[in-house]
């Protein structure tokens, strides 16, 4: 196992032409890294660059607005992703179909659902964003749909796995006392996976926040937008202001999900 990993590493290093020397930054790069690192704990509280248009509001207001939009894009993407993931996850779970008559139709539907999920997942949200930018232009909907498709696919896949791994004894007992397949699934099996599904959804929401920020590089006005501007303007203080805002967002979401979990699971 370890030998195989080492061999794979060696092959890819050779194929990509990697060498340890490349770990040393170029001469100008050292300067840049030092300037960047120097501002880590002294982020800008007001605009520092001369290139910012004079009519721009205060930096902190602009960052807060970008942070809010980052959350809104992530929320929109996640809501749509959940709307996709619940039916897709059901259709691609063995427990859903095993409750019903298994026939050729069931096998086809299961296969189709799994293929759709694989398709959604295999394209990264940034690539979807490129596609939708070309198709719909720079509208918020492009960003939300770009987030929703791969996230929906991933959530669906994990939801299906969680459903299929949930203990079956209670569901079997419900079936034995006369419950219909839908009742067995909804009230005997799903409750056993629900806490895990919720926790996973929150984790994906965190990921969605980061993706939503990065979508700013394409021109959507999330944290990534200001971050890119600051970088081009060599305004590292401003850059760190945006980065810290993102860190705060992620920590806040983590806190919130932890509190919810303690309230509902414990």
């Amino acid at each position: 196992m370890l030998a195989a990993l080492a061999a794979a590493a060696a092959v890819s290093a050779f194929a990509l032409g990697l060498s340890p020397g490349q770990l040393l930054p170029a001469p100008g790069g050292v300067e840049l890294l030092r300037a960047f690192a120097a501002r880590a704990f002294t982020p800008a509280l007001a605009w520092e660059s001369d290139l910012v248009p004079p009519d721009a509001g205060p930096l902190l207001v602009s960052v807060a607005a970008a942070a809010l939009r980052t959350v809104l894009f992530a929320l929109g993407g996640m809501s749509l992703a959940l709307a996709l993931a619940v039916p897709l996850g059901l259709l691609s779970s063995a427990s859903f179909w095993s409750q019903r008559q298994s026939g050729p139709l069931a096998a086809v539907a299961l296969g189709a659902a799994r293929a759709v999920i694989a398709g959604l997942r295999s394209v990264h949200e940034l690539l979807w964003a490129v596609v939708f930018l070309a198709a719909f232009g720079l509208t918020p909907l492009s960003a939300v749909v770009a987030l929703a498709l791969p996230y929906g696919g991933t959530l669906a896949k994990i939801f299906a796995e969680m459903l299929d791994e949930a203990p079956r004894d209670a569901g079997e007992a419900l079936r034995a006392l006369g419950a219909a397949p839908s009742q067995v699934l909804a009230l005997g099996i799903a409750p056993r996976a629900l806490a895990d599904m919720g926790a996973y959804t929150f984790y994906r929401f965190e990921c969605a926040l980061r993706s939503s920020a990065v979508l700013g590089f394409f021109g959507f006005e999330t944290l990534g937008y200001g971050l890119r501007q600051a970088f081009y303007n060599l305004a590292y203080g401003e850059l760190w202001t945006h980065l810290w805002a993102l860190v705060l967002l992620v920590v806040a979401i983590e806190r919130w999900s932890g509190a919810l979990r303690r309230r509902f699971v414990a």
């Binding site: 004894d169 209670a170 079997e172 007992a173 419900l174 079936r175 034995a176 006392l177 006369g178 419950a179 219909a180 839908s182 009742q183 909804a186 009230l187 005997g188 409750p191 056993r192 629900l194 806490a195």
Partner: protein, 278 residues
């Protein structure tokens, strides 16, 4: 049925599927039921009749097929051969809706209890009625139980001794308390027959006696038939009029307790060559 039946009767001529049950008075009945699980025959043409209001103990060594026989009685599995009757209906010939209804007439207290640990006690009890209603009604009863339903469930849980736990999360209960919740769920079905699989497997001897006595009392006052699988022979002989012995998927005996000598039990439990000890 009040004489010794040596082994299972083979070669019974069965009526056409969906026919009227041959003999009345039974709440549930197995007719030449053969079941195989994982490619192995677990029940060999088992015949068993459970009459209204009677209490039967199902005894036999591990792997004899007691759980499988109980599941067959509750129409919870599809036999390879044979017929399962519940309240005079040939269950396997019924459509899915009627079959659900037939199943809902048989309460089952599983060995592993099979409650949903994440739900509240009242939500697990409410599941007893799922055989009679659709998805939406069962969701409603789970999430928004009516006052009337709660009162009814409170009365039931009071009778099994866990009323004060009605709103607790089920996984915060002890094993013994969860067992009582499982009994309450089965009674909430308003069944004609209660099946209990090893209800004393995980409690100490004193509690074991109490659980068996509770089951007997609950069924007697409701006029329910009761079939309990038991490892403890003394408990079975002491409390039940009728004992059914299973061995290797065959009926070893089916007789009143006072007709059975120690010899019958010794033979039931002795290890055969080639028997595996689980």
């Amino acid at each position: 049925m009040h004489e010794l039946t040596p082994g299972a009767s083979a070669g019974v001529v069965l009526p056409r599927r969906g026919a009227v049950e041959p003999r009345g008075g039974a709440v549930a009945r197995l007719d030449g039921v053969t079941v195989s699980l994982g490619g192995k025959v677990v029940l060999h043409g088992l015949d068993l009749i459970v009459r209204a209001g009677e209490a039967v103990a199902l005894v036999g060594p591990s792997g004899a097929g007691k759980t499988t026989a109980l599941r067959a009685l509750g129409a919870a599995l599809a036999p390879d051969r044979g017929r399962v009757w519940i309240e005079g209906q040939d269950v396997l010939a019924l459509g899915s809706k009627e079959r659900r209804r037939a199943r809902s007439r048989v309460g089952f207290v599983h060995q592993q209890l099979a409650l949903v640990p994440q739900l509240r006690v009242h939500q697990n009890v409410a599941a007893g009625r799922f055989g009679r209603v659709g998805l939406l009604s069962s969701l409603r009863a789970t999430l928004f139980p009516s006052r009337r339903e709660l009162i009814e469930m409170h009365t039931l849980t009071e009778q099994v001794g866990v009323a004060e736990l009605l709103f607790r999360r089920t996984d915060t209960l002890s094993g013994g308390q969860q067992q009582r919740v499982a009994i309450a769920r089965a009674l909430y079905q308003e069944p004609v027959l209660l099946l209990a699989d090893e209800p004393v497997a995980s409690v100490d001897p004193e509690r074991a006696r109490a659980v068996v006595e509770l089951l007997l009392a609950l069924c007697r006052e409701r006029g329910l038939a009761l079939v309990v699988s038991l490892h403890d022979l003394d408990l079975a002989r002491e409390h039940f009029d009728r004992l059914v012995g299973l061995r290797g998927g065959h009926l070893a005996f089916d007789a009143p307790a006072h007709n059975l000598a120690d010899d019958h039990f010794a033979r039931l439990y002795e290890l055969e060559r080639g028997d595996t000890i689980p």
